[in-house]
Amino acid sequence: MSDQPITSLTLPDDVLFSVRGLKKYFPIHAGWLKKHVGNVKAIDDVSLDIKKGETFGLVGESGSGKSTVARLMLRAYSITDGEIFFRRTNGDIVDLSRLSDRDMRPLRAEMQMIFQDPYSSLNPRMTLLELVGEPMVIHGNGNQGEIKDRVAELLRVVGLRPEFINRYPHAFSGGQRQRIGIARALALNPSFIAADEAVSALDVSVAAQNINLLQDLQEQFGLTYLFITHDLGMVEHIADRIGVMYLGRLMEVAPTELLFSKPLHPYTEALMAAVPQPDPRGNRTRKRVPLKGEIGNAANPPPGCSFHPRCPYAQAKCATEVPALRTVADGRQVRCHFAEELSLVGAVA
């Protein structure tokens, strides 16, 4: 392994991932010469810290860039600008944004991803042994016999019967396939797992089983999760801290309880008000003004605060000045000019 850019930078001891000023622009080409005419600003200036052993929830509507953040952190996409510091298992702190793909490879064992669709994310022509064993083959961990033993063990860990080792994914239900994906992600003993809408496609009772499994695994292996979802009930249940995204920007970061009891950003308030609760009486009494319009276009985002065209509290300043993500009391961060002046309503009293 060549000289990795191990930074002299010191992160607070409890931080595993530190993302700073992250940007991802996708170029737009148009015309006969495919001239570069603009950028889709998928991620624009995102900074966040994820602490060791915590579950960080990322919420937002489709197109807000929450999946892109995860993919950038795992270097599945190239980075336009910004830094991503990661604390390796051996204690080194590495800036992933400056690593070549080749130097990145050994680090991939330490960070894994679980996908939403258990049907399209598993190769239908591979058996469970091949699927779950593949990362070990690629990283050269062990011979055939050892890999087989480890796969059987992993299947047991995620609650599947080891006898299934030679079956194909089609023989399993959606919830079980999700478990195969989890076993595969665990194969190389990662310290970090990004779960992208990992239970969104599952039925209620199956989602609950798999969420419990993820929490058990976190305890057992000391895992750190980035949990991406649009399901606010689920994220409240599982996350320690939550980031709210809108049009490629983080609008608010707060500990879960504070976010739900006292949101500081108008978008967070609107998002919570929109979710229908499994509580008919509560729904009848709750004030619910649906948000007007639709999420803006990332190729041509509104000037100033990107949420201002839909914001019920917007003032003249919001249309011209981009608010910064600033730290307010209780270790919370918010990107709104008027956060202190507004008195917003949370989903939880």
Binding site: E61, S62, S173, G174, G175, D203, V204, S205, V206, A207, A208, Q209, I211, N212, Q215, H230, D231, L232, G233, M234, E236, H237, I238, F260, A270, L271, M272, A273, A274, V275, P276, Q277, P278, D279, P280, R281, N283, R288, P290, L291, E294, I295, A347, V348, A349
Partner: protein, 339 residues
């Protein structure tokens, strides 16, 4: 049928004779919809909620066999249709579809024609059922788009589905479904593919249209939050059967079937501390070729007793307007009384 009744299903059976065995996707479903009410149908995948809706529309997949039961519809116009007796291509059913029953699907991109503008699609429907000429039909299409709160309706009438966002497409789909003032709208997971803020807009729109036009809605979903928001009454389905039907409040605050109760407990709720682990239902939904005898839920049920639940199919037990198909429904009723 009683005068307030719009639709009545009695012991409807839909079977799929497959190589692996006979799948009873809908196994004796009975429910009714009164004029102007919203009936929510909730259940996990494979419970038969969509197939039942398709049986009403006579739009069953080719392999399906309508194996029994009766479906009767009496729309506003007063005539009565025995839908279960109609052929999928008969003149009568084509009159019912579109004119008396409108349907909205989960995926507007696949349900709308990609090669016709949304205006053309709405115009064809109203020209066919209402006998309007082109100019009137176009004016009606623009009116309908305005009614579903489509921005700039007179421009959007010439837009193709791919030019619209998901929420706009769903609005176009609703405009098409209500174009002939149907007495009943069947909405099959209409907000499942949408973001929560768009979902809230569409739910609000459906509620508004329902009260303005006085139509009834059958709202199919697996999302208990959505059901709580829109339904007047709710039927819960499991493995091709309705296990419980009640008013929305009774379903949520006084369920009398163990499956309803267990499902509700397994949903994470805002502001309710359910402990670190979510309560779950043991096991999984059995595959449709080996549905357990007796009560289909018995292997996963904490109330189940051998010799009873795994032998006899539970009868429908009535508690006022609440119907539960559980041998121990009285026991659940008692538990609520103590809370």
């Amino acid at each position: 049928m009683p005068p307030e009744r719009l639709l009545e299903l009695d012991d409807v059976q839909v079977h799929f004779p497959l190589r692996e065995g006979l799948v009873k996707a809908v196994n004796g479903v009975s429910y009714h919809v009164n004029k102007g009410e919203v009936l929510g149908i909730v259940g996990e995948s494979g419970s038969g909620k969509s197939i039942t809706a398709r049986a009403i529309m006579r739009l069953l997949p080719k392999r399906a066999v309508a194996a029994g039961g009766s479906i009767r519809l009496r729309p506003r116009t007063g005539e009565e249709f025995e839908l279960s007796a109609l052929d999928r291509n008969s003149r009568a059913i084509r009159q019912v579809r579109g004119q008396h029953i409108g349907m909205v699907f989960q995926e507007p991109m696949t349900a709308l024609s990609p090669v016709h503008t949304i205006g053309t699609q709405i115009m064809r429907t109203v020209q066919l059922h209402k006998g309007l000429n082109r100019a009137d039909a176009r004016a009606r299409a623009i009116d309908l788009l305005a009614k579903v709160q489509m921005p700039r309706p007179s421009e959007m009438v010439d837009a193709y589905p791919h030019q619209l966002s998901g929420g706009m497409r769903q609005r176009a789909m609703i405009a098409l479904a209500i174009s002939c003032d149907p007495s009943l709208l069947i909405a099959d997971e209409p907000t499942t593919a949408l973001d929560v803020t768009t979902e809230a807009q569409i739910l609000e729109l459906l509620k508004q249209l329902q009260s303005e036009m006085g139509m009834a809605i059958i709202f199919i979903t697996h999302n208990f939050g959505v059901i709580a928001d829109i339904a007047d009454r709710v039927s819960v389905m499991y493995l091709g059967r309705i296990v419980e039907t009640a008013t929305v409040d009774d379903i949520f605050y006084a369920p009398k079937h163990p499956y309803t109760k267990a499902l509700l407990r397994s949903i994470p709720r805002l502001g309710v501390d359910q402990g670190r682990r979510l309560p779950t239902i043991p096991g999984m939904v059995p595959d449709p070729f080996s549905v357990p005898p007796g009560c289909a839920f018995n292997p996963r049920c904490t109330y189940a007793r051998p010799g009873i639940c795994d032998v006899t199919t539970p009868p429908a037990k009535h508690f006022g307007n609440q119907i539960s198909r559980c041998h121990f429904a009285e026991k659940l009723a008692e538990e609520h009384a103590h809370v």
